[in-house]
Subunit: 160 residues, 4 copies
Amino acid sequence: MPITAPPCPRIDPDTLSCAVTARVLYADTDKMGIVYHASYFRYLELARVELIRAAGIPYTQLEAAGLALPLSDIAVRFSSPGLYDDVMTIDVGLSLVTRVRVHFDYRVHVKAYDREGLREDVTLLTAQTRHACVRREDARPERLPISVYEVLAAQVRAGA
Amino acid sequence: MPITAPPCPRIDPDTLSCAVTARVLYADTDKMGIVYHASYFRYLELARVELIRAAGIPYTQLEAAGLALPLSDIAVRFSSPGLYDDVMTIDVGLSLVTRVRVHFDYRVHVKAYDREGLREDVTLLTAQTRHACVRREDARPERLPISVYEVLAAQVRAGA
Amino acid sequence: MPITAPPCPRIDPDTLSCAVTARVLYADTDKMGIVYHASYFRYLELARVELIRAAGIPYTQLEAAGLALPLSDIAVRFSSPGLYDDVMTIDVGLSLVTRVRVHFDYRVHVKAYDREGLREDVTLLTAQTRHACVRREDARPERLPISVYEVLAAQVRAGA
Amino acid sequence: MPITAPPCPRIDPDTLSCAVTARVLYADTDKMGIVYHASYFRYLELARVELIRAAGIPYTQLEAAGLALPLSDIAVRFSSPGLYDDVMTIDVGLSLVTRVRVHFDYRVHVKAYDREGLREDVTLLTAQTRHACVRREDARPERLPISVYEVLAAQVRAGA
């Protein structure tokens, strides 16, 4: 059975907003001289926790309610390599929220002049992470509290 | 524009073969008590380099030829959480090889008895990584040497 | 031959200044629920590159001059565990600069109210990293340019 | 107050024994083309858990007894850079065991022929990690069970 679906995430850049910027460290690079692909995931985590914190739902509040949002799916398309000392801008948005599922879309880019000699914004990657709502104590599916759901769902509408 | 494509990679488990096993470390876990999602990527790298080494093409040979295989796409579907001290089996196969593209499919699982009390094989995730062949010196697209192409393409047919 | 020297770094907190703050991610934690010890090293790197950037010597300038500052020694004493969502303050200072050696001292702490319920500043760790100046092309020892040396040495005096 | 103590760990290589070998991945390297310093810590963890497992005390057994061994101190001296695709040998030994403290010493090296063109064993680093025995539930100091203590203490004597 051949692979039929491209893993490229279909995200809508217009619905994303800047959550954070971060500078590339040696810790993030590999011997190819570029950012190692797995290094980006901590920046995606940083962006999504700041997004929901800004919306009024710090992740620690979900934990205190006995909930967790583990990843069920990741899709990333890499467009251009990140370089040491780049100031990356991580845009993030909520693209789907139900009582039991939350999807985040991302675009990691470097703005003009945030890399020496860079004159135009360059996209490093686009990505989507999908999360299930579960109980922390046994990882069983659980519904988001209605109050949390409403706040997050409003973010989806605001983005779109 | 809503997201229309599921990021789930469509892999064919029958064409994969075991490349490596590895034990989960504290370094791999997070405070949820499970393997942090980004921790798996180094194990996927380990599996694919051992697969091509076993096929007779150590990655250092590609480097010596001035080539690199950076990732263009990642797709992962997480099925079940990995736990500390699990002995993970990482199955890997080549699902597509052209002169300029290489796709690897993966299944990370824990076999019965490779976790205390585990009686049945459990799949932690399936994944696909897509790679472009480029020149190391300037990251421009480059074709694989025909001899390398033939060895890798034979792996695809062997798997299928 | 028994071990005779304690690995505890002897740093002088009075000579350190705040370089950066950073928030603890899930990526940084382990299943003990605290920051995994190796996760701190990227924050130490972040602090020292911002320190020398603030002094007028971005690390990329050293690279452009064909130089690198690889680590020769690390010493860390852990005092208290870092927790998820902590806002860590990383203080850093230069404690020794010669033409061929650079030492950085660090204190990572969480200020009062930068962790929920925390009323007093708590030190997570103190550390020292020692670096040798080498040529990038062959990793042979090399002297810092006198202009760089003078700028960095002034930082040591400023601290002390 | 100047720094007075060298962070170099005083280890006795004669008391170490090989615990594990591991091959350097791209994930471990940085843009200097060598192993990033913080990448070694997971290999040190791997070595020490295999050492105590071989002694009959898997770490999960300590966890089941409500105990943990968090790090209190780290000291590392780097001697030579690790390179991509190196097969590293991690030697480890217990240098001190009391009811409340455990010290591990390490030497990470590459044996002749475990790197292309390498004719002599090369030491990458020596290190020591110090651990305190604590209760998992509240991180308070706790004594090792006498049976565990005796097994581990015998390892120190065996090494010396």
